[in-house]
């Protein structure tokens, strides 16, 4: 709710105008039956057609007010909810940008997409319906009752009682069915999950002969859903019938009572129809409000899910005295260093990295090798400060990375991620991602170094279209473009996270040779699985289960490090 209030704040004026439009709408709506009653009353007493015409014109004005108010109200509701939806969405997205790797993974990509798109949509639509259906309820109840009191006190009292009873029952109905609605929602999700699993896993299911089992599993979910849905339908039918009943009863009661009051000379005959009309309108609004009210819990869940994102404290923040830590990259030989670093994910029992200690020197290549899950990629992410150390420290240019801004740190690093992700646009727009002012000459040079000659074979060359994620290029091409992108951004440290895996041996070798001169004034950190990629590195760090098993050159490690020898043996087997 806090989020909603915060987002609402700039729209106070708009909200007030919207409210006034709704007042106009309701007032006009109630005025029409009032006029009609007046017409009957006048008609039975005098025979003046002038009055009828006069009354007709007033009715027409009332109609215009009601319809104008309704239209204006509709427009403003749509506008207000669209603005609020947009603002929530933008805040969710901006919050996501401040998240560290593990912050984001806490939600998961799928969930974050849902929160940014669907959840906000539900909030927006529900807000619009609530504005249109819930806000008018107190208005019409009060106005309708007041108008009835103006006609006759006894009728007014009866109206008050009727409104009260209907209102109480409506609130009870909503209260009782709300949990059922939430249950429905989770059941729909379950249906989706189970069906999806059945489709995606069809080969496994058939290989294991589990067709019957899966049929049973889905039938179970379907039945649960059907039962819940039927119960919800019953509730709806109940609400529906109850409203119908209360309208009937009140109509008969008001004619009866009205007859008596007219007989007592307390009111006029035409006013009976006006009172009945008020009662009908009030009940109708209450019924509509019930349906909308049932949607609110779900919207609140969505709102909560968005709030969770917006108000989450990013686990990695720039320290308050940020900017004080200027990395001294120019005159230091050691560009970056891990000093006895340990790292553990918040919810894990075991450390992912344990006592990692090494330096990346200018002009030198440092390589990290290890098996899947040994923590290699985590090291790259810690260097970029996408994760923070649990113990020890990561320094860049002699300064602890936690003492400089993230922006400052990352401006010194060029990173090639494991998954070579390109953005939709052109090759040029992707290459300029880290350096918008790069000239075409620079782009061309980077492409040459990255062995991306294939670009010149494309009909639009640098302007060739790149699909989302770069899916219109092969894995190897994507990797080379990602490398070129990193090269365009001049940096003090280049990190290649398993970036050569999709390249064949020949390209791999050529690329590394070209890189050598390109990066001679910078430090290079290569994370790899293939020994051939890192054979000539100045320093190789061997990682196993998050611990350093050996450090040195290829020759040294072949002598001393058992893990390294094993890796080498497995990869050289049958080859060379």
């Amino acid at each position: 709710m806090k989020l909603l209030f915060e987002v609402m704040r700039p729209y106070k004026k708009l909200a007030i105008i919207t409210f006034l439009a709704l007042v106009l709408d309701i007032a006009g709506t109630l005025y029409v039956p009032t006029m009609l009653a007046g017409m009957i009353n006048q008609a039975v007493e005098s025979s003046s057609t002038d009055f009828i015409l006069n009354q007709g014109i007033r009715m027409f004005v009332a109609c215009c007010c009601a319809s104008g108010g309704a239209l204006l109200g509709n427009y403003l509701c749509a506008r207000l909810s669209a603005c609020i939806g947009r603002d929530i969405r933008q805040r969710v997205y901006d919050a996501s940008l401040t998240f560290s790797g593990s912050d984001f993974e806490e939600f998961g990509t799928g969930s974050m997409i849902t929160r940014t798109l669907n959840d906000v949509n539900v909030i927006q639509q529900t807000l619009m319906l609530a504005l249109q259906a819930l806000v008018p309820v107190p208005l019409i109840c009060v106005m309708g009752t007041v108008l009835t009191f103006a006609i006759d006190v006894q009728m007014g009292t009866t109206m008050l009682a009727a409104v009260f009873v209907v209102m109480v029952l409506a609130v009870l109905a909503v209260k009782n069915s709300a949990p059922l609605f939430e249950k429905m929602q989770t059941l729909i999700d379950r249906m989706n999950v189970v069906l999806r699993e059945n489709m995606v896993g069809v080969r496994v299911i058939r290989a294991f002969g589990k067709e019957r089992h899966e049929e049973g599993r889905s039938a179970c979910v379907f039945t649960d859903y059907a039962n819940a849905a039927i119960r919800v339908n019953w509730i709806f039918a109940g609400v529906d019938c109850f409203t119908f009943l209360s309208m009937n009863i009140s109509e008969v009661v008001f004619i009866w009572l009205g007859g008596n009051r007219v007989g007592a000379g307390a009111m006029e005959i035409g006013s009976i129809s006006a009172v009945i009309e008020y009662a009908m309108l009030i009940m109708f609004y209450i019924m509509m409000a019930q349906f909308v009210a049932l949607m609110i819990p779900r919207a609140l869940v969505c709102l909560q899910r968005c709030s969770d994102v917006v108000f989450k404290q990013p686990s990695i923040r720039d320290c308050s005295v940020a900017g004080t830590g200027e990395p001294q990259v120019e005159d230091d030989d050691v560009v970056a260093a891990f000093k006895h670093v340990s790292f553990r994910f918040d919810d894990a029992d075991e450390e992912t990295l344990h006592n990692i200690d090494f330096h990346c020197r200018r002009g030198k290549t440092t390589a990290i090798i290890g098996s899947t899950g040994s923590g290699k990629s985590t090291i790259a992410k810690m260097m970029l400060r996408l994760h923070d150390v649990s113990e020890g420290s990561v320094t860049f240019g002699g300064v602890d990375v936690r003492e400089m801004t993230q922006h400052e740190l990352r401006s010194h690093i060029a990173y090639v991620p494991q998954k070579a992700w390109l953005f939709s646009g052109t090759i040029a727009s992707n290459l300029r991602y880290g350096n918008e002012d790069a000239s075409d000459v620079e782009l061309r040079h980077a492409l040459d170094v990255a062995q991306s000659d294939f670009v010149w074979g494309l009909c639009d060359r640098l302007e060739a279209r790149v699909a989302q994620g770069g899916t219109n290029f092969s894995g190897g091409q994507r990797q080379r473009l990602a490398i070129a992108r990193a090269l365009v951004k001049r940096a003090d440290l280049y990190i290649f996270d398993d970036s050569f895996s999709a390249l064949d041996f020949k390209t791999d070798a050529a690329l590394r040779r070209a890189l050598k001169s390109e990066t001679k004034n910078a430090a290079v950190l290569i994370i790899a699985q293939r020994i051939s990629t890192i054979l000539h590195a100045d320093q190789i760090v061997v990682l196993k289960d998050g611990r350093i098993e050996g450090k040195g050159t290829h020759e040294e490690l072949m002598e001393s490090c058992e893990v390294y020898q094993e890796i080498a043996k497995s990869q050289m087997k049958g080859g060379e």
Binding site: I26, A43, G69, Y75, V122, N248, L281, A348, G434
Partner: protein, 662 residues
Amino acid sequence: MAEKLTQEIDEQGTAGQAGERGAVDRAGEPTTAGQAGKPTAAGQSSEPEAAGEANAPKTTDPNAEPEDFETPKDTWGTVRRLWDVARGERWRFGVVIVAVVLYAAFHVAAPAYSAHVIDVLWAHIQIAFAEGKPFAVGWDTGGRELAIYFGIWMTAFALYSVQCFVMAGFAEKLNLSLRKSLTEKLNRLPLKYFDTHKPGEVVSRATNDLDKMSEVLQTGLLRIMTSVGTIIGSLIMMLRFNVVLTGVFLVFTLISTVVTRVVSKQTLRLASERQRYVGELTAAVEEAYSGRLVIKSFNREEASSADIHDLSDKLATASRRADFATNAISPFIRFIFRIAQVIIAVIAGAMLVGGQITIGVFQAFFQYIYEVSEPLTELGFSINTLQNALAAVERVFGILDEDEIEPDPVPELAAKLPAALEGAIDFEHVRFGYDPENPLMRDVSFHVKPGQKIAIVGATGAGKTTLINLLMRFYEIDGGHIYLDGVDTRSMSRADLRSNFGMVLQDAWLYEGTIAENIAYGRPDATREEIIEAAKMARVDYFVRTMSQGYDTRVENDAENISQGQRQLLTIARVILCDPKILILDEATSSVDTRTEQNIVHAMETVMRGRTSFVIAHRLSTIVDADLILHMRAGTIIEQGTHEELLAENGAYAELYRSQFA
């Protein structure tokens, strides 16, 4: 909605469409108010739906349903089939139809009778006034009429309740049986279907489409039936009361119909414009979230934020327009009817003064105006949704009509395998093509002795998976034979055949359950010790223990917290636990590094000792010791033999080998 209510809708401003129109699937916009607030599958907070897309981001919005304003191809055929499915529940229809007819009659009679009641009351009041006495309602002075009037409404109420409650279970039961037959059907569909259809498509049929149907059966159909009855009845009554007034009313009805048509065209256009922006924003957000690592490491947060802000601004404008257009129809139509009312009121008022009509008639006539105008505005819309729902059901039937795999031979006739399987496999003159017109394999033969290790190599798309598809009978061969221990695989039941294989697939499939449950998928009775033992052999035990709840951690959100490599290791553990006779490793090690791959292969070798295994791998280093290497290209086997034999041949394999170890 209560028909009685519609009499009031005319008078109420915006709430009407809040509930009623809320049920409209606004041209693909997630339904926020399906069946007046009932949660719907579209636009729900469905994590799995979005999560499923997340691994392979697509620009498609799961909510984008271009079919929203579709009409069925064969309306009556679909209706007839639906009627067949409803067998056993048809009595409900009978009851409802009788109730609807009676209800409409009572409903139309009520305002007319109310005119009578008011006139009687007024007459008595005037008599009393003439005598100078106060008047109170007694049994003879209007009370009897009032009681009868009450009786009419109570009967209508009873009939209405019957309709609502009888129909409450009908649609969902229909849905349940359709959904069940859909999953059963899925198990009889050939693999080809799954390889050519997106899962989201089928899921949407089973959830969104069927929900659309139940919604319409629940409320839409009922509303159409009662509307038609009420409109006809009311118009007759109006004509009986006064022809001139009715004429005026009909003119305005015509105007409103024209306006509705014009406006709804506009609405459709605006809705599709909004849908376009939804699509753009979805694509942009998916892209940004998938590439967030790059955004951060290149310090592009501000630029990316600006992009998303810009798109969400555009969407907000589009959605404001679309929502307004959708919501504005009702007040606009009401405005037209209100003007009609004013004109009729003035004419009728003059008639009242002139004594041509009574007070009761005056009031009753207005009630009839309400009765007719609202269902009329709603009717066009209701018929649209009905057609829409039928089109949705037709799509479901479409799936149910898909060609099925040929049934297994009856158990008595099915060929049986020897109890102690050897594991010999023979392909003899196998011919196959995914498209029979365009065969890939023309004549493939090879022989595998029990316990041999077979390596399948070749570029992506060379047909390695095809071979496995045929072996497992995921696809049926077009010619030739495949024998398992000398028994033609086509003569046995599929389940029997497959129970002898254990396979690890390229994309590791985990389902929503605990890690332990996933490992024990093939053997639900396995003990925890056995599960852990299997995990250890697959070298995944360490990883599982680092998860928050170890083996009891639930796999959720499409297992995105588990890396591809770990997922594969988990599926290997699953196969190890099953201890199958024949093992298939379909690129199982592609995202596990060489050393781990070696570890797995070692573990597998232990398990598979004396058993047949098929290995598909990119890296030649792991298969040089295979007993038989099948080198595939363009769907067929171009070379076969041992590593040494193939090198000696100095053909394509030798070249491939040299290129990898240059």
